[in-house]
Symmetry: C2
Subunit: 211 residues, 2 copies
């Protein structure tokens, strides 16, 4: 799509294939990018990534013109994974359970990925593959909401525009200092999901303690 090679396996067609070690390093960098961005967020340096990959900075800058390029490559993949989750949810029968389950799974993924969360807040530059993946996810969410609504499972006034704010709220809980790796966010997601149902309902709350 863009100017960067897809995350897949070998080099793309048109261009002369990379030397074997070079291609290997490309993979290493992508991997390291994933890990570093997940752990330290988007503000991580390409130097960080390089070091983490056991490579020199120069190597990284030869493969990816700048940080944006690498981040885009990395997160487009991850957003596509989420889009796939949504598609799978769309196949379930119970519209509300599908929506709820998707949110839980997608946010569970984000829980361990600070970079991804930061990306949700900010927003992608238009025209990138990343923006495309983003729209993809958004449109699947719409479908999920629409179906739950069609089944009469949603409280009056709930729309697809509620999804982003809800994600933002849960993200905020995840970002809370202290209980980083705990599942505290599930507690609040439960409260919110209860609040989205057509029929008033109180599922048992996940405890404030560990998951």
């Amino acid at each position: 799509m863009g100017g960067q090679r897809e995350g897949g396996e070998p080099a793309a067609a048109g261009a002369r294939p990379l030397r074997r070690d070079a291609e290997l390093n490309r993979q290493r960098i992508l991997r390291a990018g994933r890990e570093v961005f997940a752990a330290r967020g988007l503000q991580a340096t390409l130097n960080d990534v390089a070091h983490h990959a056991g490579l020199g900075v120069g190597t990284v800058y030869r493969k990816f013109p700048d940080k944006r390029a690498l981040a885009e490559a990395v997160f487009t993949e991850e957003l596509d994974e989420i889009a796939a989750m949504a598609r799978k949810a769309l196949a379930e029968d119970d519209g509300f359970a599908a929506l709820a389950g998707f949110l839980e799974r997608a946010l569970g993924l984000a829980a361990h990925n600070r970079g991804l969360r930061e990306l949700m807040r900010r927003g992608a530059v238009e025209g990138t593959g990343l923006a495309r993946a983003r729209r993809q996810v958004a449109s699947h969410c719409e479908a999920l909401v629409a179906r739950a609504r069609a089944q009469g499972a949603l409280r009056d006034g709930v729309t697809e525009t509620d999804i982003a704010p809800i994600a933002a709220m849960i993200d905020a809980v995840m970002a809370l200092p202290g209980e980083r790796p705990s599942g505290l966010w599930r507690r609040y997601l439960a409260i919110i999901l209860d609040g989205l149902r057509a029929q008033p309902c109180q599922t048992p709350l996940p405890s404030p303690g560990r998951t």
Copy 2:
């Protein structure tokens, strides 16, 4: 308390009073600090504040050793206002309404104060007057929750430790790009409050549009 004069009127006892113009400028700076921090957040520069106050940078640095000092002075006041709100709520009869009303009012205040919100996320340096004010607010929240709970108004498992995450969530909605000055947050606060009640209940949702 700290080493800085209180926000009040004239100079403190012990020290020789400031020259009249100097004291006036002190007020100007405090005022400007409030406004600038509220609008641009804690990352605002003392140079910004100075310019906003119509004063030179040097003047500001003479009154406040650094940004932290000014921010502390400014936000201690604001937190005290919130503590006062909580005390007033504690005087109401209906424990749940008191809690809900307090949250609404306090968050409504935060809605227009980016600096204050950033302060909630981060957390104050221990030992400052600011930390004291913070604890004050926290303890009042505890009391508010305890009372609602004692009146049997709270859903099972809800505790005072839920307040901070809830505030964080609402803050996240306020920080959402785009709908900054809208009252969108009230919508989600309503959902969450419904979820806090002992009896399942659905108050009508504030619309996603303007307030």
